[in-house]
Symmetry: C2
Subunit: 429 residues, 2 copies
């Protein structure tokens, strides 16, 4: 038996706003931060699970406080209890009748849940001696379904449907694992197109991206139409028309404005428009999707998608052509497995959001599970990559020729180096 | 000039779980709590604005932490700046580019915003020497519209449409104010039907409610179908069939289950089913509304409705027959004014959620604004009343014959008595 003996929480902030890394039309000066949790155990080898939620500075302390509020729900319980029924365990963490009030299933308390849940999966995978993607990909359909809380999903996906879907994906699993280990998982880069960068830097970064083998490139738009048109022109000159180009508005538009603006950008053939409006607006995204479909532009959203109920509706309403899960926004691995199952049922490719602090490290595991065990394909799927802050992680993600190499170390790749945690520990005031 | 000089935050909790007051199918043992904020000013008379967010215990500290995170956005600014353009001021509080990440517009950080915003309105109304409902009801349409941030609303309501709607409601205002002051605003009671109460207590409370003149009564359902049927039988025996009876499931059902369960309860002729499923599920509520419409049962939700974008969609999708705003869940007075304007445009009556700590005191003002200045009617409208914890407020709500009497003291009725705040200050551990 391995018992969770205590929880420690750390407020870690990187002063990224000094360089405008990560700047976009909505997020002007982010300080990439981590509300970090360690679940310590009574295991004699010092086995511990690490997890975190990503924020962009102020408010990181609020998420830390929300993580601490989960302490009574997890400390004292055993890893074996989690392994036996991860879905029930998840529901017990998410279902505290008092904490639920300040969600439910959303905002700071749900991001805190993500940190705790991902730490549990890190613990599980380390104990199993496997990288997380390989652990979950090896589950039987029955084991997999026991990870899911199906509450509120009955009108879109039942446990029986999930079992069928997973069973159909059993064949070819070992071939896909081998191919994944050989080729890596398709990725795209956002490193070139932050709004704060000058044109010559964009041009240089585009050339560099092409040289590195990237086939999918994303830039930020939405602050100024003329500026967007000029930058798209520069980028198409550099990357040509065979590579896929995606644009991201970070929620700055109203629905009619999103449609008009994208009609202007259509000549540059964007593959998708990401976050055209409020992340909560299912019907708005559906209206935008209907308007842009004839122009060949898909709608993508999800990095601010608060929970599985929102994703359920985005899929039901045919509001998205690309489903952008995030490791730390919804309630961690379990809820993302539910979302990926729904996306597979509705035939919508999962293209995760990443970047920030550790999101690339965490979410690559989920894309790999999607490929091996859920959808069984990586066609039309790319996992975001941003080249920031990887050096702070014990098992940083590895990119080769525009693809994520499969992690090999046991765990969820969530552990940050102790020196980094000490150096960037936030001192209030 | 009145400058906001400092902010103090208090974690206040009442041990209500000892008596099962407020128990329902989702919230088993709430400790009604208040994340309380005071905006102090440099005014020589000690003018201060009070506001709070309501929670049910654990997690109240998280909202307190989130309120503190707004300090840099409000301290040092002036009341005059707020009065000049309340909508722009609201947007500046809601738009902190870093804090926004842990919402946006939802959860702990948005509830914190509600507390701060309501404190600003309390300050404004006290300085004006008017109860809040009367202050806002006296605004010209232009002043009123300057309170609203229309971001994300363009596909449902523009500023021009809001102006038209408000202008149409100008005539008859003074008659309605007079009538409101004479008769009070229609209310309903939830005091009889908490799940934790034994049958004889329900029967006794029903008789009491009838004797007190209540015409609308609500009970909790959803834990056990046979139990619900028995309790509904008792209640109809006591209140008869002329009084309106509403039922509230507090989000416990999936969509198909909600439809089946309500088909069983239909013989008791509920006027509405409240919170049948996840509060985030616009499409789910729309499906339930379509299924129950032929049975004469309306769908009501909103107490956990996170923001104006959710309400916009509930209205667009015809998912609700009753719009249940909450004073402290969305971002305070300004955002609720936006929601009430949209409800008026879509012809859906606003029937606020109340109860908890202070929600009755706060939200009565909004119902009165709706009557005087927005919809111009109280037909099919009732504001919830629960008889708990009013004694802790400086200006407690007053009920007469099932109606809220119009508040007379200046302010937003948000100020809690100092003795109560001291007595119930939460001591951690």
């Amino acid at each position: 038996m391995t018992r969770i003996s205590r929880m420690t929480v750390e407020d870690i902030r990187f002063p990224t706003s000094q360089h405008l890394d990560g700047s976009d039309a909505m997020n002007l000066d982010p300080d990439y931060s981590s509300a970090y949790v360690v679940l310590h155990t009574d295991n004699s080898q010092g086995l511990a699970g690490h997890g975190s939620a990503f924020t962009i500075g102020r408010g990181n302390n609020v998420v830390c406080e929300a993580i601490r509020a989960h302490e009574h729900l997890v400390v004292g319980r055993t890893l074996e209890e989690f392994i036996c029924s991860p879905g029930e365990f998840w529901r017990s963490l998410n279902g505290d009748s008092q904490l639920r009030w300040i969600g439910p299933d959303k905002g700071a308390v749900h991001m805190a849940l993500a940190a705790v849940v991902n730490a549990l999966w890190d613990l599980y995978a380390k104990a199993a001696g496997l990288p997380l993607w390989q652990l979950i990909s090896g589950f039987t359909p029955e084991q997999f379904v026991r990870c899911i809380d199906f509450r509120y999903l009955a009108d879109a996906l039942t446990a029986e449907e999930a079992l069928d879907l997973l069973a159909r994906c059993e064949s070819g699993k070992s071939d896909r694992i081998e191919r994944l280990q050989r080729e890596g998982y398709p990725a795209y880069t956002t490193s070139a197109g932050w709004l704060g960068y000058p044109d010559d830097k964009i041009r240089r970064l585009c050339r560099q991206a092409v040289a590195e083998g990237w086939t999918h490139i994303k830039i930020k738009v939405g602050r100024d139409l003329q500026d967007d048109l000029r930058r798209l022109q520069i980028i198409r000159e550099e990357i040509g028309w065979d590579r896929k180009l995606m644009v991201d508005a970070n929620q700055v538009w109203d629905v009619p404005q999103a449609i008009r603006w994208m009609q202007e950008l259509a000549p540059f053939k964007p593959w998708w428009i990401e976050e055209p409006t409020s992340p909560d607006d299912v019907l708005g995204h559906a209206a935008i999707a209907r308007a842009l479909d004839p122009l060949g532009i898909g709608v993508a959203t999800g990095e601010h998608g608060m929970n599985r109920v929102l994703f359920k509706q985005l899929l039901q309403a045919r509001a998205i052509s690309f489903c952008q899960i995030d490791s730390c926004r919804v309630g961690g691995v379990n809820e993302n497995l539910a979302i990926m199952l729904m996306a597979a049922k509705f035939g919508v490719p999962v293209c995760p959001h990443a970047g920030g602090v550790g999101l690339c490290e965490f979410v690559q595991h989920l894309s790999m599970v999607d490929y091996v065990a859920i959808s069984g394909t990586w066609d039309n799927r790319v996992c975001e990559f941003v080249d920031h802050l990887h050096e702070h992680f014990v098992d940083p993600c590895r990119i080769r020729q525009g693809r994520y190499l499969a992690p090999q170390l046991p765990g969820h790749s969530t552990e940050m180096r102790l020196e980094s945690r000490r150096q960037f520990a936030f001192q209030r005031g």
